[in-house]
Symmetry: C2
Subunit: 360 residues, 2 copies
Amino acid sequence: MMKNNNYCVIMSGGIGSRFWPFSKESKPKQFLDFFGTGRSLLQQTFDRFNPLIPKENIYIATNGLYADLVKEQLPELNDSQILLEPTRRNTAPCIAYAAYHIRSICPEANMVVTPADHLILQEHHFLKNIHVGLNFVQQSPSLLTLGVKPNRPETGYGYIQTGDGEKGYIQKVKAFTEKPNLELAKIFFECGDFFWNSGIFLWNVNTIIEAFKCYLPDIYTRFNRGLDKYNTPEEKAFIEEEYPLCQNISIDYGIMEKADNVFMLIADFGWSDLGTWGSLHDLAEKDEFRNSSLKCKTLFIESKDNLVTLDNGKLAVIQGMEDYIIVESNNVLLICKKSEEQRIKQFVANVNIKYGTEYL
Amino acid sequence: MMKNNNYCVIMSGGIGSRFWPFSKESKPKQFLDFFGTGRSLLQQTFDRFNPLIPKENIYIATNGLYADLVKEQLPELNDSQILLEPTRRNTAPCIAYAAYHIRSICPEANMVVTPADHLILQEHHFLKNIHVGLNFVQQSPSLLTLGVKPNRPETGYGYIQTGDGEKGYIQKVKAFTEKPNLELAKIFFECGDFFWNSGIFLWNVNTIIEAFKCYLPDIYTRFNRGLDKYNTPEEKAFIEEEYPLCQNISIDYGIMEKADNVFMLIADFGWSDLGTWGSLHDLAEKDEFRNSSLKCKTLFIESKDNLVTLDNGKLAVIQGMEDYIIVESNNVLLICKKSEEQRIKQFVANVNIKYGTEYL
């Protein structure tokens, strides 16, 4: 009985331009097989939930541009399980749409919302966490988020602060914080009350819709107008009209930071948002000189701390390089100091100016 | 009349392992289109002689491994114009074979011997030099070499020293020298009597065969035994038997350094043996930071003195690199400090140990 009430929404509309040229706007990182396992990050996310949530209850929210890629990568889904965002409006409108759609099918649904492009290790722990979380939100009108215990003073993630002296597996959230500077990140790391915000949320559809009513009433009002249209042939036209008019706002900023019924479950699994080449390098297997190569063969000579990824089966011979990202994909070779990787977006813009869109 | 007596032998059997992974043993550098012009170095060499020497008088000496490549790249030649060396025995046996073969067809032939893999600029000067040289060796029983006036104290070339105070366009050679160290190269460069040894030779077939008789009598005797076989169906079997028994020796060391009838014509054209990536970088077009890219598009950021070549049409975005060779070809990416390029052979050996011959 409980099982049929559980739904999952995989948010898969991001562009992931930080991983250019490996990712491109026409094929963002969630659709790529980063580690050469044969499954893309989206497919891995689907595979991870499938033991707990029946495949007919798994929805993909994505941009119209990527509908064909989703169908190609997840042929086991029906077209009706792909929720198309007509325009990019950040996570809050996307989640509101998914909640209204799912509620029209299952009025008591519990839903997990997850990004498509994160890396999760120790999947059995993950499944246990999700199972516990779904039980919690079924019984409690709460907004639940998964928090990851930090293992370093990371400045690339948002943090969740839990209440003073909270000890349990599920704790009341005191505050969400933006990405901290290094000084602050060190304090967070040492304090013990701060957790990485994984961006994985669980709640009952009625709880989240109630939260939209309180904290994002404009979005609530818009989606409420379509109550008779969800899960009907009219839904598409309704969404195409209303969605672009929604406020562009994240669920974190619009609801999670403001609501007072927010709880956090401490995640037991290994997690990375794979947001940067640096984070990928942290996770990847490395040789004794901290060089790592993904999907390709390598010979490193007088080189250390490099991350190399070429198209499958290629060989890289790297001499005299330290702390570089070396990526070859889609007819583009990028070589860039790891410390400069936040400028990749700017490089892409310059390539556009110099050579047009051929390589983007 | 004179024209019909002129022959050219393009030596095209080298391996060129210094340009790995761009060149491979299965396709050495003379068969590659280094500059993206649409013609390989061998084809360019053929094209360069063709205005002066009729195509039926142009011979290619190469290894059996490369016979098909030669036929593919120079379909205008008959099979009989490809002289196959059964084994590698350096230039002296190769030149002896060519001289005997050509003399059997034209007893008074003058021949130019040239490497297939050098770069020649200002081709009209080149043709004028060759024309003058052929006239000279027709009239004089001399061995003529083309010497290039140095424009820098290059340590990668052998030098030719001419006689004291020699002033003419064609000068008597005093000595050949091996590749000098930098100190000596500077002295050679400043002195004015030293010229780069281009490896392009001109002589009458009878003059060179006479020189073999004097200075390499063993090779002379072997090839003399086949006098009734050249240019007959028996030539192939004869060469396959005798050639491997020849001494492995260069024409420079075996004859040019020892003979006393050696002259040098001062070349007017731009020349490089394209022996190293560095020499290619010297010649290639460069941007204001001395970066050059061959056959590919590039965006250099905070980078200087790099040489980049990828497969046709690819894009390289290079940030924070100085003085590197970056080559992608044949499923291999090589990144190597320019100062370390002489170690490429060693890298190839290590690739062989680690991954076998797949990438060689």
